[in-house]
Subunit: 396 residues, 2 copies
C-alpha cells in the first residue's frame, strides 16, 4: 500500500550548496570550495560537473600558479540565463532584462496605465517581454523567472493584489498564473515599494540588514527590510505610512476619508497644491522640481516642510524598527536635497541619540532603477534558490 517512492537519497541536491557559494560571482578553485564546504575534493568536482552541465557555472581563467600546476577556477556564468524585472506604476511601466548577477541588460519604459486592467496590461507585458528578449538575441528558454512590482498591496505568497485602491479589475487576479501561461516561467509579485527596498538594499547596501526605503511620489510608502529580510506584514500592507496623521495636518482632509494624513501634506501632488495656493503655476511635481532648481524660495520651503512632515512619521518608524539606513526614493527625490534636509532636521532633533547615532539618511543611489533591480532580485532569489538549482541539476 506504499505509494511508489523514488530512492530519495539526497542525490545531487547538494550541488546547490556549492552554487550558493558561487552566487557572489567570485571565482573559486576546487580546493577553496573543498575547504569551505568540508567536502572532499572529489565530491566538489562531481558537484561542479553537475553545475557546469546546467551552464550556470563555468570555468574562468585559471589562477596564478604557486609553483605547480595552476588551479582552474569556477564562477557564476552571469550570461547563462536571464530574468525579467518589471515595475508597474499608476501610469507608466518599466520592464528590464537582467542577467544572473542582477545587472540590467536592457530597459524599456512606457506609458501604460495600470487602470487598463490586468488582461490588457499583462498582455502588453508578455509581448513586450518577448520583444526585449529577441532584441538581446535570447530565446524564451533563456528566461528563468519574472519579478514584478505593482502599485498596491499584494499578497506575495499567491501573487494576487488585495483591495488595491488604484488598480481597478486587479483585485485577486492571479498574476503568476497568467505569466506562467504566457511566458512559461514563475512570477514573483510584490508591492512596488517593497521591490524598490530590495533593489536599493541589494545594489547599494548589501551588508545592511535593517533598512527603510521611503518612496515619496503620488503616494508615500515604505519598504521595510529588517533582520535581513523584507517584512510584508499580516496582510501584505506593511509600510503603508501614507495615512499616518501628522501634527501639521490637523483638519486637512485626505481622499482616504480621514484627516491630517501624511500623504495629504507631503506627497508630490500635495506639495504642488500647496504651491498653487501661493499663486505658483505648478501642475505637478515636475513643475515643482523646476521651481526648486531655479531657487524659488516658496517651492524650496514647501519641499523642506514636506520633508519635516515625513521626518515626523519617520521618528516613530526609527524607534520601532531601528534601521541603520533610511533611503528616500520616488519621483520627489528629484528635489531630494531639500526633502532630505527637512527629514534630517526633524529626525535628528526628535529621535533618541541611541537610535540615530548609527543611522544614515540618504537619497536613493539607484533612483529610478531601484524598482526593476528589486524585481530582478526577487526573480533571481526564486530562480537560483537551492530548490530550483536542485531541480535543475537533478533532471540531467
Amino acid at each position: 500500500m506504499e505509494p511508489p517512492r523514488k530512492p530519495s537519497t539526497l542525490g545531487f541536491v547538494g550541488a546547490s550548496d556549492i552554487f550558493q557559494l558561487l552566487r557572489d560571482g567570485q571565482p573559486r578553485t576546487r580546493a577553496e570550495l573543498s575547504s569551505i564546504t568540508g567536502l572532499a575534493r572529489s565530491t566538489v568536482a562531481l558537484r561542479l560537473e553537475a553545475l557546469r552541465a546546467t551552464g550556470l557555472i563555468g570555468p574562468t581563467g585559471g589562477a596564478a600558479s604557486s609553483g605547480g600546476r595552476p588551479p582552474s577556477q569556477f564562477a557564476l556564468n552571469p550570461t547563462a540565463r536571464v530574468v525579467i524585472g518589471a515595475d508597474f506604476g499608476a501610469t507608466h511601466a518599466t520592464i528590464a532584462v537582467a542577467d544572473l548577477a542582477g545587472d540590467i541588460l536592457l530597459t524599456r519604459r512606457t506609458a501604460r496605465p495600470i487602470a487598463d486592467g490586468p488582461e490588457a496590461v499583462l498582455g502588453w507585458f508578455g509581448t513586450e517581454s518577448r520583444g526585449l528578449l529577441a532584441e538581446l538575441g535570447r530565446t524564451e528558454a533563456d528566461l528563468l523567472a519574472v519579478g514584478m512590482g505593482l502599485p498596491g498591496p499584494v499578497e506575495h505568497d499567491t501573487g494576487r493584489p488585495v483591495n488595491p485602491p488604484i488598480m481597478p479589475g486587479w483585485d485577486g487576479f492571479d498574476v503568476p498564473g497568467w505569466v506562467l501561461d504566457e511566458l512559461g516561467v514563475p512570477a514573483l509579485v510584490d508591492n512596488d515599494v517593497n521591490i524598490m527596498a530590495i533593489g536599493e538594499q541589494t545594489s547599494s547596501f548589501p551588508d545592511v540588514t535593517d533598512l527603510l526605503f521611503v518612496k515619496v511620489a503620488t503616494g508615500i510608502g515604505a519598504g521595510i527590510i529588517s533582520g535581513g529580510s523584507l517584512q510584508r506584514g499580516a496582510q501584505g500592507s506593511a509600510g503603508d505610512i501614507g495615512h499616518v496623521r501628522i501634527e501639521r495636518g490637523s483638519g486637512i482632509a485626505c481622499p482616504c476619508g480621514n484627516f491630517g494624513c501624511l500623504e495629504a501634506m507631503a506627497s508630490g501632488p500635495a506639495i504642488a497644491a500647496q504651491l498653487r495656493e501661493t499663486g505658483a503655476d505648478v501642475a505637478n511635481m515636475n513643475d515643482v522640481a523646476d521651481l526648486v532648481r531655479h531657487n524659488d524660495l516658496d517651492a524650496i520651503r514647501a519641499v523642506r516642510q514636506a520633508g519635516r512632515d515625513i521626518g515626523e512619521v519617520l521618528t516613530t518608524c526609527i524607534s520601532l524598527v531601528n534601521p541603520s539606513v533610511i533611503v528616500l526614493g520616488g519621483s520627489v527625490s528629484r528635489v531630494g536635497e531639500h526633502l532630505l534636509a527637512g527629514v534630517r532636521e526633524v529626525v535628528y532633533q526628535r529621535s533618541t541619540p541611541l537610535a540615530t547615532q548609527h543611522l544614515s539618511i540618504l537619497q536613493s543611489r539607484v533612483a529610478e532603477k531601484a524598482a526593476v533591480l528589486g524585481a530582478s532580485v526577487l526573480a533571481l532569489h526564486h530562480a537560483l534558490s537551492p530548490e530550483s538549482i536542485g531541480a535543475m541539476t537533478e533532471e540531467l
Copy 2:
C-alpha cells in the same frame, strides 16, 4: 596537508528532522513519520532509536488498533530535561524552570535590583537556579540551556547589554560567558520586552506571524514579531517607542532630555504623577489600580487618556508593520480594560480600515508569566535546534 576530516557522511544528523516533527508533543507512529518524512520505515526506526537513547523522545501508549497489532507511538518526552527562563526587571527578578514543552514547573520571584551589578545579580541567579533544580529533584546535568531577559537593549548574538540606561555596570558584560562558567550551559539573552513578545506569541497566538507586544510599566516598549520571527533592529533597540513624541505632550519634559515623550505621559509613573496633580494620594501604579478598582473617575480618565496616547503611537506602528494582533502587557495591564479602551478608541478612529479590519487589540493572556515563558522558549529554541539535537545523537 589536509586537516583530519571525520567522514562527514550525513550520519545521524537526520535524526533531528524527525525530532523537529515531534517537537509539538503530538505522538506519532513510525508509519506516520515515514510518510511525512519520505524516509523508509526502517530508517525511521533507526532514527527513533537514536532519539530514544537521548531520552528526549519516548514511547507513549500505543494508539487504537485498526484490526491488527496496534501501532506504538512516540512523542517528545517533556520531562527528560529542563531549561531555565529568567526575567530581570529594574527591581525584581523572576526565575522559572520549564520542561521541554515549555511548560513552567516552578517559579520564583524575588526583589533583586538590577543595579547591584552583573556579578551580584548573576551570582545570585546561579545559586538560586541550583536551588530550584534541587527543589524539583533535578540535577544540573538535566539543565539544557538558560534564557534570560534584561531591562535594556541587548546585542542578542553576543548576549551583551549595550548602553543600558538603568543597568549600571552591565554595559558590555559577557552574560552568556558567565552563565557558561557558572552553570555549564549556554545562555540566550535578550531585551525583556522581546522575550515577553515571544512568550505571548508562543503561548497565546502560535499561528500568528505578525504580532506587537506592548509593555506599559515604568517604561513603555514594544516587542515586534514580524514574518514569524522577532525583529531586533540594527542595534538591538527595535521597539523602543517610549520616547516617541505625542501631540498631547508638547512642552512636557522627559528625563531623556526631550519633550513630549510617550513615556512621560502614559507610563505608570506618569499616570500616577498626573493623578497626584488632581490631589489624589497615589505613590505608584498599585495605588492607581486601587483607585480604578473603586471606580475613581479621575483615575479611570487618566488611564484611558494614557491609552489614547499609546494608541496614537500605535497607529503609526500598525501602518508600518501591519500586525494581526497587538497585545498589551506590563504592570499597567492590571488596569487593562480602561487602557485598552483608550488604545482602541484612537486606533480604530485613525488607522485605515485595511490595516485594522483583521487586527485584534488584546490584553496579555499570560500576563506576568509572559517574560519567563518567552525566556524558556528562547532557551528551548537553542537547545532543541537541529544542530544541538544532531550533536546529542551523534555523540552516542
